[in-house]
Symmetry: C2
Subunit: 212 residues, 2 copies
DNA sequence: GATTTATTCATACGTATGTATTAAATGTCG
DNA sequence: CGACATTTAATACATACGTATGAATAAATC
């Protein structure tokens, strides 16, 4: 799976074959089928291996932060940090996974959609809730859009990070993380201006994807 | 090339074969080789077809804005808008191209690197210059990082935009663009805090990618 | 130590890939 | 018309793909 992570991250799902994977992992070709059954399964399991833990860490940080806040809404930067810190940490420990998750989230293979829905969406909902409490003046539509933009920034941060091989300097890591948090939080929290209203006014008749 | 744009955007370079492309374009397989020579060339030409014009538009808008400012540094939001507006417009007109450019910029195929260097980098340099004048307090490192994040946000915006098939309502378009601009500009312009200094202090010995 | 279970191995299947080739058909324009 | 460019058609080539198989080997269990 380490080899799969590296090669999938480098060349994408379709860019690498089972033979290359087997050779890179120094195992027999048949061993891959034996253990994973199919290429898709291998991809899914390789992806979820870290993605699950990553999401759990996010939720854990947020829960801890909220508990420490005693019911007060958290500052935006605090929430953002709960989102970003696990990404940065796992990304630094496993640079190839960074590229893999960037590819995967930007253009998810269809066989991963269900897993993403079950693993990622609940997570996102929790954070959306936290942001809504922290930013009551930002309309839900705008917040959703901004979260997507924040995700895009995070993905790009990930590939940049895996491009320049940071050599695990704790202070440097902290500085990069803080820059990412600052950028994102600033964009998320900026005043909605007349745009929120305008967006709402132009809203098409039937809506169905609000959290109600 | 329209078919190529759609299929490459949907499935990526390795996700689609020449036969599928030919069939989707309703031409013979040999016609593709006849006109483009190879699959890579087809991808490159399909990508550059709009990417070139997009960059030219960006530069044009920025030049016009700077001329209208009579030597004063432009407001950040203005610069960002010059960057984003062409993306949004071409993205709305050609949703498939949006996905294609997102895939391409997030994980560029090696045969495109040279073209990206020659087409995209000079463009970026110009905008970096504008931002440096507009944000003299933000260190160059931080600005570079933030621009990468902004690019990530833009890419994600593009795929979101092509996902929800906006039906070309000028007001809605303007609202979305303005939201993107606002988010990005806010992140780019936010105060660097102690982080810039910290980042500079932790800078590794040899540097070589500054604009000097 | 024998027997069952788990894992590796080399190899093979059918299909799909990108590209090239040949000849005939269709279009274009001087 | 005649010269040329384009398009179609039908393959063909070598290679790569994901997956499957059955025998050989290692581990585990009794």
């Amino acid at each position: 799976m380490d080899a799969a992570e590296r090669l999938f991250g480098e060349h994408g799902y379709n860019g690498v074959g089972m033979r290359a994977l087997a050779q890179s992992a120094k195992v027999n070709l048949a061993a891959t089928t034996y253990h994973f059954g199919s290429k898709k399964t291998l991809y899914v399991e390789t992806f979820l291996r870290r993605f699950r833990e990553l999401n759990a860490q996010r939720l854990g940080l947020l829960a801890a932060a909220e508990q420490a806040a005693h019911g007060q809404p958290l500052p935006v930067e605090r929430i953002v940090e709960c989102m970003m810190r696990p990404s940065v940490e796992v990304g630094l420990a496993h640079p190839a996974f960074n590229k893999m998750v960037a590819r995967t989230l930007l253009a998810p293979p269809k066989f991963l959609l269900e897993h993403l829905k079950s693993e990622f969406e609940p997570n996102l909902k929790v954070f959306i809730g936290a942001f809504e409490r922290a930013l009551p003046t930002v309309p839900a539509d705008v917040l959703n859009l901004r979260l997507a933009l924040a995700l895009g920034a995070t993905l790009m941060f990930g590939v940049q990070m895996s491009a320049i091989r940071i050599k695990r300097d704790a202070k440097r890591e902290a500085a990069f993380l803080k820059e990412l948090v600052r950028f994102t939080a600033s964009g998320l929290a900026c005043p909605p201006a007349t745009l929120g209203a305008e967006l709402a006014r132009l809203r098409p008749p039937a809506r169905r994807k609000r959290t109600a």
